[in-house]
Amino acid sequence: MARKITYQQAVNEALAQEMARDETVIVMGEDVAGGSGADGEMDAWGGPLGITKGLYSQFGDRVMDTPITESAFIGAAVGAATAGLRPVAELMFVDFMGVCFDQMFNQAAKFRYMFGGKAETPVVVRTMYGAGLRAAAQHSQCLYSIFTHIPGLKVVTPSTPYDAKGLLIQSIRDNDPVIFFEHKTLYTLEGDVPEEAYTIPFGEANVTREGSDVTIVTLGRMVHVAHEAADALSSDGISCEVVDLRTTSPMDTDTIIESVENTGRLVVLDESHPRCSIASDVSALVSQEAFDSLKAPIRMVTAPHVPVPFADNLEDLYIPDAAQLQQAVRTVMGKD
């Protein structure tokens, strides 16, 4: 039975239900229990934003606080996964992944391949991403395209509470390493979520709005920006179809191509930097596979190729918004 809960509650519920179902599922990260191993209140924090709060009380030592050493605990999670556990490691901000690239890129991503399919690494790294919380250049990036680039990793970017729960349960049950991106501004978003456990398959984009004039391919937080723009454009008689990728690896190329074949126009909306990005990847795919369907050049609406600014006014300018998207749609419609 569906009821309204937040994105944050959906993530917590997915973890709790999978931990209850499968005792090999463990949670580890900085302050995910909070207070363990020290005097004071146990289960005090549940991570910096309280996402895992309550799990320590229910599952005890299966929720582990780690030292502030991403290189160590991401490596430990990868190792535990090869040894039969299903660890869900919380990397507080994806920006910190730099110190664990070897663990993820050279180890976790390669084991199945290098051991001839005999090794499995069912690890999930949950991580916060995106701009909008005044957290400056080292805590605000959208780095999903870097992981999408690496064969052997699965990359998940849920945009709603429903998708967050179903995709996280799928991630935990999946036998490959998964990077699960949670946008920090979406945690308070409410939506209908079934109480029961359920899974959403990887590689199935969600057409969240049907339209006939322009396809907007997007992901994560930007799905909501796309809807805001599409609502405004519909009053001008421009009909937008919105494709939420849900996962960038694997990516549902069929749904993108089918949609562009119907509309003949593509705008890609991506909060990440423009170079070597999901936006450029989707654009290349469509120019290669659906060029004959295009009635106008593809447009990309992205953040600029600069670090995320700390100044409020500059950060607001940095994040792609509905006005920029509307302008791009009008351009491909020849109505600018």
Binding site: A197, Y198, P201
Partner: protein
């Protein structure tokens, strides 16, 4: 306010409907309208259908414009007797609009409106509408849920209590289906009635729900005040086994859509939201196993295991079989050659979901049968 002026308002189809868009007026101002006439087509995010007049009169005003999106209960049009004055009608509309309050956003969601009852250790979710009289129980088919009755439930509940339940393995009911055969599911229906203190009910079953209702009416004749089966299982061996298997196997929208389209005579009714809702149901832990168990017991090898055709003549209460002539799941030929006690209504051009696509006619027939 003149009593000769009557309203046509935005209907509420299903628990989640908040608003609808007027797709097209089917009647012009000045047309004479009788109850049951289709007045306009309305689209919602889940489904499209015609709005029917519940009263008679001349359509004096088309208040809602085509393309306009309005909340449930909003004024769509005004019916009046021929002698009503234009000024009175304008005043009536002005007063209605001044007093109209759209329903609050979260006034009623599924979890708030439905109730749960324990039936032999299984939680069964149901929705009750209306009150009094001998109740009606609506029993959906394989892969369906109580929303399959969204165009029937409210209409039938105008005169009596009407229950629609989610069978085990379906909707938000328990996922344990036991043996999953018609006999076990009929025992659940029996237990549902007992748990709610319903001694006797008018049983209305669609597809697999028809076979379940028929089984209960045969096993416990005192429980059925009447029996209506729609596009029903249990009356012949043929069934589209490819539909059952394909419905279970499909994990993605484009795999599921062709199977769901087979249910309707108008595939345009299969909206993206309808497919998404079905996928959301099928993704829940335990659903696939439940559907596989039911399918294996109910239609092993793609043909029906339980055929009650020879016994339907034994039923002493009124019995009716409704079918769409173009039913692609259970063939309408199963409505042929039934004993004389069965009233047979085959609707030309309709498909398996005839209770949705020809709702007003189905509602009228059921009302007529149960009196």
């Amino acid at each position: 306010m003149s009593e000769s002026i009557r309203t046509i308002c935005m209907p509420k189809w299903g628990l989640s409907m908040k608003e609808g868009t007027v797709a097209a007026w089917l009647m012009d101002e000045g047309d004479e309208i009788s109850p049951g006439d289709e007045v306009m087509d309305v689209e919602t995010e889940k489904i499209s259908s015609a709005v029917e007049a519940s009263e008679s009169g001349i359509l004096r005003r088309q208040v809602a414009a085509e393309g306009e999106t309005l909340s449930v209960g909003a004024l769509l049009g005004v019916l009046a007797d021929g002698d009503a004055q234009d000024g009175d009608i304008d005043a009536f509309i002005a007063e209605f609009q001044a007093n109209y309050v759209p329903p609050a956003e979260d006034e009623e969601d599924e979890s708030a409106a439905t109730e749960t009852v324990d039936v032999g250790g299984r939680n069964i979710r149901y929705l009750l509408r209306g009150e009094g009289g001998v109740p009606v129980i609506l029993v959906h088919g394989f892969g369906g849920d109580l929303n399959n009755w969204l165009f029937n439930h409210e209409a039938l509940a105008a005169k009596r209590a009407v229950y629609a339940l989610n069978l085990p393995g379906h909707g938000a009911s328990a996922k344990d289906v036991g043996a999953g055969d018609v006999a076990e599911l009929a025992a659940v229906l029996d237990g549902f009635m007992a748990a709610l203190g319903i001694d006797q009910a008018h049983l209305v079953g669609h597809s697999l729900g028809g076979a379940i209702s028929l089984q209960l009416a045969l096993e416990q004749p005192a429980k059925a005040a009447s029996l209506t089966v729609i596009g029903s299982a249990g009356l012949g061996s043929e069934i589209d086994g490819g539909f059952l298997a394909g419905f279970i196997a499909a994990e993605r929208r484009k795999d599921l859509k062709p199977h769901v389209e087979k249910l309707f005579s108008d595939p345009g009714l299969v909206t993206r939201q309808l497919i998404n809702d079905l996928l959301a149901f099928k993704r829940i832990d335990g659903v696939r196993a439940a559907l596989e168990t039911i399918n294996a017991a109910f239609a092993p090898g793609g043909s029906q295991a339980v055929i009650l055709r020879d016994r339907i003549g034994d039923i002493a209460v009124p019995v009716m079989a409704i079918w769409g002539s173009g039913d692609r799941i259970v063939p309408a030929s199963h409505a042929e050659g039934l004993p004389d006690n069965v009233r047979v209504e085959v609707m030309a051009g309709q498909g398996h979901m005839v209770q949705m696509e020809a709702a007003s006619e189905v509602n009228r027939l059921i009302d007529e049968l149960i009196g």
